[in-house]
């Protein structure tokens, strides 16, 4: 064959580049999709530390989680939703907040520095005044 036509090595390089391009594209889009997943994940934080992370969509049985601290609290988890259900703190703002079921929902106990948040952002509002 002719010396100056594409060589075997050229095809190899072209092949590797094409595979890498296709693979990286699939990988990146897949990774992003996983990150923006539809699953609702609730995190419970106490004093800025995550004490528990729960995928609310995989919860089958109702579950009680006890949080100890200056004031003891109980969190209740059901399929797709989570809330503070009991608290020893005086104002009970956290309990009165009720169920959290949408992305971006948050319930906070200031005296105990405890918080439940469903990760992600609400589709309807960015923030609500107090």
């Amino acid at each position: 064959m002719n010396m100056n036509m594409l060589k075997k090595g050229d095809f190899l390089i072209i092949g590797i580049v094409m595979v890498a391009v296709v693979f990286s594209f699939v990988y990146i889009s897949h990774y992003r999709k996983a990150d923006n997943g539809a699953h609702k994940v609730a995190i419970i934080k106490v004093k800025d530390k995550v004490v528990k992370s729960i995928d609310l969509d995989t919860v089958t049985e109702p579950q009680r989680i006890e949080i100890s601290g200056e004031y003891n609290q109980v969190v209740l988890v059901e399929n797709g939703r989570i809330r503070f259900v009991e608290a020893e703190c005086p104002d009970k703002v956290c309990v009165n907040t009720g169920w959290l079921s949408d992305k971006g929902d948050m319930a906070v106990c200031i005296p105990n520095s405890a918080m439940i948040k469903i990760e992600g952002q609400s589709q309807k509002v960015d923030a609500v005044t107090h």
Binding site: N4, V93, M106, K117, K124, A127, T129
Partner: protein, 362 residues
């Protein structure tokens, strides 16, 4: 010879084409973030923290958002330290301790807040007054043991409430409270100031899009990275935290609510809330259960939400209409929602509880 030269050109062309294609692909990565399924450039940084006795959340769109949010929290903690009366130390405690005696040296920040406080006291004819401190303390709404003071006691303490007794010396710089026993409580304005300071820090770091929420004092910087407006829910005064009666769409605005639901206690079946009318010494009974102010500065919105809550619907509306660039939403006890003219296009009534009536104009 000609044939071979053509083939060499062909090979060069193919390799060049590959290089061009790969370059286009790689450079397109910077554009990929515009696609909804790979928006890494527009992922916001979110932070929730506690200070000033409340929850503070920030959402920042920036490369070094975490560092910026920490600077904001440092600044807020500094403001809290200077202006709190719920913890020992700080400038306002010193001012209060020296009441009736000495001038006290104050930071620029504290002096600015005091001046603003006096300004809003004046334009609201004392419906907002930071010298209401002795009465707030007597009720103890912010403590674990609140109680209803006797009428005599409240009458005595009312003599100590007068914003004109805050004497400011700009040259010192400092201030003095005229009468012994007077007490300044910046609880109705300091969070607003802190939120404005946060926005300044964002701007210093070239952030174009962010918001901060200091216990309901919300300030929006710019619009969202996709060019849409921020959406802020106006709290339903009788619903749980997070529920709202409507949505304000805005950018570069401060939005603050006041209401009788924020803090209260019950005694003998009567509900006593935390917003004391500085003119009567009792929890404000103006017929409003919630006010929301939209303005440029959060410190203004904070003071005005309290002032209008105390003034009531008619006088509150009159006050807001007198001030340029400020709009308001008022919710009355009979669950009617009123707005000022400037909000007609940016406020959307959306009441999932079906308990409220949207009246718009009074």
């Amino acid at each position: 010879m000609k044939y071979i030269k053509g083939e060499a050109n062909m090979r060069k062309k193919i390799l060049l084409l590959i290089i061009v294609l790969v370059t286009i692909y790689l450079s397109s990565c910077s554009k990929l973030e515009n696609l909804p399924y790979m928006n890494f450039g527009t992922e916001p940084y979110e932070n929730v923290d506690y200070a000033m006795g409340t929850v503070i959340s920030q959402r920042i769109y920036s490369n070094n958002a975490e560092e910026i949010s920490k600077k904001v929290m440092d600044k807020i903690r500094q403001i809290e330290e200077d202006m709190t009366i719920n913890k020992p130390g700080g400038e306002i405690n010193r001012l209060n301790d020296s009441a009736g005696r000495d001038f006290v040296k104050l930071s620029e920040d504290t002096l600015y807040v005091l001046e603003k406080a006096k300004e809003f006291s004046k334009i609201s004819n004392g419906a907002f007054d930071v010298t209401v401190g002795p009465i707030v303390k007597e009720w103890g709404v912010f403590t674990d043991n609140p109680s209803v003071p006797s009428m005599e006691r409240l009458q005595d303490l009312l003599n100590l409430v007068n914003y004109e007794d805050i004497i400011i010396d700009k040259n010192m710089p400092g201030a003095k409270l005229q009468k012994n026993g007077q007490l300044v409580d910046l609880g109705g304005i300091a969070k607003g100031f802190a939120a404005d300071e946060a926005i300044d820090i964002y701007k210093q770091h070239n952030v174009k899009s962010a918001f901060i929420n200091i216990g309901g004092n919300i300030v929006l910087l710019g619009d969202k990275p996709d060019g849409s407006l921020w959406k802020v829910g106006v709290r339903n005064p009788r619903g749980p935290e997070g529920s709202y009666i409507g949505i304000i769409s805005a950018k570069d605005k401060a939005i603050v609510s006041s209401g009788d639901y924020q803090r209260y206690f019950e005694k003998d079946g009567i509900r006593y809330h935390h917003i004391i009318d500085p003119r009567t010494g009792y929890p404000s009974d103006s017929g409003l259960i919630g006010t929301t102010i939209v303005s440029e500065l959060s410190i203004d919105a904070d003071a005005l939400s309290t002032a209008t809550f105390v003034l009531g619907l008619e006088k509150g509306m009159d006050l807001i209409e007198k001030i340029e660039g400020v709009e308001a939403i008022f919710i009355t006890r009979d669950k009617k929602v009123y707005i000022t003219g400037g909000l007609v296009n940016s406020f959307e009534f959306e009441d999932d509880s079906n308990e409220y009536e949207y009246v718009k104009k009074r």
